[in-house]
Structures are given as structure tokens and as C-alpha cells.
Subunit: 302 residues, 2 copies
């Protein structure tokens, strides 16, 4: 099977892992991408693994590791330890991919509750620390058989969440490492605007690093909490037909994960959300993946 | 003289052209970058030219032309006409540069009061229409001796304002035209996050297209009206030292324009704004420009 639908648990934040697994299975999904706090809530990775397995699902990703831009030795050590634990959790729940949000500038560390340095706005230096931290994590990831998946975040989050802003930059950063240890994700919200998107998706496939496809729409106006601007496919302005074709042409055949942070959608009943996302996926995304993959004819697209 | 400070009138939206010119001159500035509605308010470009000249200032830019992504022949014709008029105005007020905000997707045209097509989210097609419209405008710009200055906007505006999101993309688009007809601007707010920024600024200098440097900071959280997130230099998270060095090393020696859309700053007394921007410019930006240009020694920077 190709292009199976996966529920990222960020889409249903009011459900615990057990509930999310049940809701996803009920809706006919085969995969789930859990966030780490649900693993902890469930009593740890072994228990989480059992919940996912008993529910008949597989984990597509674990969200998330990263936050590698701290300047102090102490904070760097804590980040390493947190990522070591995340890699172990990913392996335990049998998730092939650990999504990595690399972290922002020290000047903005306080925004996410960290301690930084208000005067340190050196984005080039922050990127360099990400590369060094990755060097340390890769051997661990290889030991556990987990792929560290670099996520380029929309540039509106460059300051506080990720100094990694484009797919091309993610691939450049990955180059130093084997493709089984460091991959990339195409998240439509984060990269749809990129003038190099088609060519970098192609490159990601060619370099065998395209290991995850996450989807949601880009809504306007931007939500007052900018994180919550992710929309249901079809509600915003992203051309899912084009991006999905590029992803499938680059050879991607894995699960497609829906990750929506959006106050309205997050607050509604989970079965409504899962129903809508399945329907939108089948009408707006899947046909274009399948045509580009040669699984069905273009005439099948209305 | 190099690196003279210029007031973009977006920073003082409550002043008419006469008042903005007086306030800028009073604060010791030598340049102004007016928005077009102030030209109209002043009674047209000839009157505006006289106001600027009588105030002892020069125009660094005219803001703005663009919005070239419409799909209907009628809307394209109107856009051409509006840009023709803008080029003429720029020439009349002796502004060497017309800043071009290229426009967004048809699916979002209604957001800025236009009529588009809710289903047209084809960003590649929109970029292509920009290129075609530019082909038509360039001969006119050359006739008038005005440079069309492509402005890459922050990707958070890719949907509604500009499908041109990076300096590299702007330079690629400019390639088809002579450098005196099509240039680029580095606006710190829009491009600070770009991993290719240093190399593309260098390229812009090399290709003789770097004709404007606009500055303001990137504030967090993003304002509820995302347009208003531009901050006073030093209040946000941009590394002005690094970007200013890159700009000067690329050979830029022109005026530096401060353009801040920000409810608090826009609402305060203009002399306070002009005083603060002059002071911040002299402490955070100018020394780095001058050192990189070889005008002063690095030891002059605290």
C-alpha cells in the first residue's frame, strides 16, 4: 500500500494516545504520528507501543526532537539528553522517523520558556550549532535505526522555533550524514511558498532523504497565535495537486500525515475532524499522488 | 556621502508629504521614500516634487508599483496602467527606484479588495504572470530612467501580497532585463531568515542590481495584523550588524530607508520616531556599513 493516511496527534489535541488510536482506527486510518507528551502520558514508550499495536496502527513519525541551538554547555547537554530519549522512544514505538524542529535564536529562547541571551541574534551561528549537535546525535540514531527528519519550518518561525527554513537548507545540512540517519520532511504549510520547492523535492528524492509528507493548508489571515494558522486541506491557499505530484514523482510512497493546529478544528469532535480530513485527503491530495506514481490514470481526477 | 538615512513615509502614516518632509529635514535626514497616496494627496507628482525639493530632500524610492498577478485581461490592463503612472510619478519626483510588490494568488485577491478566483492557488502560474508583466513594463521604465525594484516579501505574505519570496528568486527574475531597468531591494524584515542571504546579497552586488536597503526589525509575537510586525531596529531579533556588513561589502553605498509598520510606533509623535530611528541607525546599523565599506575602522564599533 502507498500513501496511507496518518493522524498526527497535534490535530486532535484533546485526545490521549489511546483515544487518538481508537479514533484513527475507527476512521479507517492505518497510521498515527504521536507527539511525545502523549507517550509520557500513556506511561512511557513501551506502553505507548502496545496501545498503537493493539489498535492495529503503525507509527509514521514521532514528534518531536530538536531544539539544538542553545549556547551554554549545560543547555546543550540537556538538549542532547532529551533527543537521546526521543530517539529511544521512536525506536520503541517502532516509528521510523523522529521529526526534528531545530530551534530558534538565543534572543527568543524565553518565548518557549528557555533561557537564552537577548543580545544573541546570530542566525548563522545558531545554524552552525544545529550542525554540530546533529553530528553528535547521528551515531545514536543509527544505533537505534531511527531517521532524524529535519523539518524546515515556515520563515515566520525562524526566530523562535527553527533557524531551518527551506527544504534546500535541510538537504544541505543532511549531506554530511548517511541517508538512513538524516532525512527531510515536506510539510506543505511550511514550504508551499518556496520558489525552489519543486527542484528541492526532486533533489530530496534523488538523495533518498524524502521520508515524510505532512499536510495541512495555509489559512489567512494568520491566526493571532501564529502557530494556529494551519488549516484543513482545501480551506486555505495551498496547491495540493502540484505539491503532491512533485512528492510522488520524487519517489515518495509512504504515509501522509495530517497535522493541523487550529483552534476551531482542534476544539471540534474528533470524529468530525477525522471524517473531514479523510474526505479532503481523498479528493484533494491522494488522486494527484496516485497519478504521479502511476497508480491511476489522470482521467480519474475530476 | 554614503549611507544617508531616509524616511519611508510608511513609518509616519499620520503625516502628509509636506509634514513628513519637514519632520525628516528637521531630524537631519537627507532622503525620503514616499508612498503613492501621499503624492496624490499632495496634488500630484509635480507638486510633490516641489515639496521634496523645497524641503531640501531627495527621494530615495517611490512606494510602490506591482500587483502583477491578475488573470483577467481587464485586470492586467489596469495593473499596467497603474504601473505606468507609478513609473511616471517616480521620474517626476526624481526617485531613481520604484519599489515593486509583485502581488499574490488569485485565491487571495479579495483580501486586498481585488477580484480573483477562489480556486486558483497556482503559485507557479502567478510567478509566470509577474515575469510577463515585467517584460511589458521594462521598456517604459527605461524610457523614464526609473529602476523597477523587485522586493522579495517575507513568505508570510506569499499568498496575499507577493509570490516573490527570496532575494535569489528576485535576481533570477531580473536576469532577463538590463540592470538599470530592474534591480532588487534588501529589506531586512523580509529576508533576514534566508539561509542564502549572504550569497544572494553578494550576487546582487556583483550583478549591479542592489539599489535599495530598507531596514526595520522583526518583532515577536507576530502582530494580530501581520503587516504591523515591523519593529524599530533593536527591538526585535534581526542581526543588523551581519546583514549591513554584507550589504556594504556587496558595494551598496546608497541611502538606507527606514520603513516601520507598527501600531505603537506609527501612533506616536513623529519627532520621537525620527529621533529614535536616527539614534538606532547610528548605533546598530551605520557603523557596520562603514566598517565594511572601509570608511571607518572596526575599532569604532562598541
Amino acid at each position: 500500500m502507498s500513501f496511507e493516511l496518518s493522524l498526527n496527534t497535534g490535530t486532535t489535541p484533546n485526545l490521549n494516545l489511546q483515544q487518538a488510536v481508537e479514533a484513527a482506527a475507527q476512521a479507517g486510518l492505518t497510521h498515527i504520528g504521536p507527539w511525545r507528551h502523549l507517550i509520557e502520558q500513556a506511561g512511557g514508550a513501551q506502553r505507548a507501543a502496545a496501545i498503537i499495536k493493539e489498535g492495529g496502527l503503525k507509527a509514521s513519525t514521532l514528534c518531536r526532537g530538536g531544539f539544538l541551538t542553545a549556547t551554554s554547555k549545560q543547555a546543550q547537554k540537556e538538549a542532547f539528553e532529551s533527543n537521546r530519549k526521543a530517539i529511544e522512544e521512536a525506536a520503541t514505538i517502532d516509528a521510523p522517523n523522529l521529526i526534528m524542529v531545530v530551534g530558534g535564536l538565543p534572543s527568543a529562547a524565553h518565548i518557549l520558556g528557555g533561557s537564552g541571551d537577548p543580545s544573541d541574534k546570530d542566525i548563522v551561528g545558531a545554524r552552525d550549532r544545529v550542525a554540530r549537535a546533529l553530528d553528535q546525535l547521528v551515531p545514536l540514531a543509527m544505533d537505534y535505526g531511527v531517521c532524524l527528519v529535519l523539518e524546515a519550518l515556515h520563515p515566520m518561525y525562524a526566530v523562535d522555533r527553527a533557524v531551518l527554513s527551506t527544504l534546500g537548507q535541510a538537504l544541505d545540512l543532511a549531506t554530511a550524514h548517511p541517508s538512513e540517519a538524516v532525512g527531510v520532511v515536506v510539510d506543505t504549510f511550511h514550504v508551499f511558498w518556496d520558489p525552489q520547492l519543486q527542484q528541492q523535492i526532486q533533489r530530496a528524492g534523488h538523495e533518498r532523504r524524502l521520508v515524510s509528507y505532512q499536510i495541512c493548508d495555509f489559512n489567512l489571515p494568520i491566526a493571532s497565535n501564529a502557530l494556529q494558522s494551519r488549516g484543513m486541506m482545501g480551506d486555505g491557499h495551498i496547491d495540493f495537486a502540484a505539491i503532491s505530484r512533485w512528492v510522488a514523482k520524487a519517489g515518495y510512497r509512504g504515509p501522509v500525515e495530517v497535522e493541523i493546529f487550529n483552534d476551531e478544528i482542534n476544539g471540534q469532535a474528533a470524529d468530525l475532524t477525522l471524517g473531514t480530513m479523510s474526505e479532503r485527503y481523498k479528493s484533494l491530495v491522494l488522486p494527484h499522488l496516485e497519478v504521479a506514481a502511476g497508480i491511476q490514470q489522470a482521467s480519474a481526477i475530476n
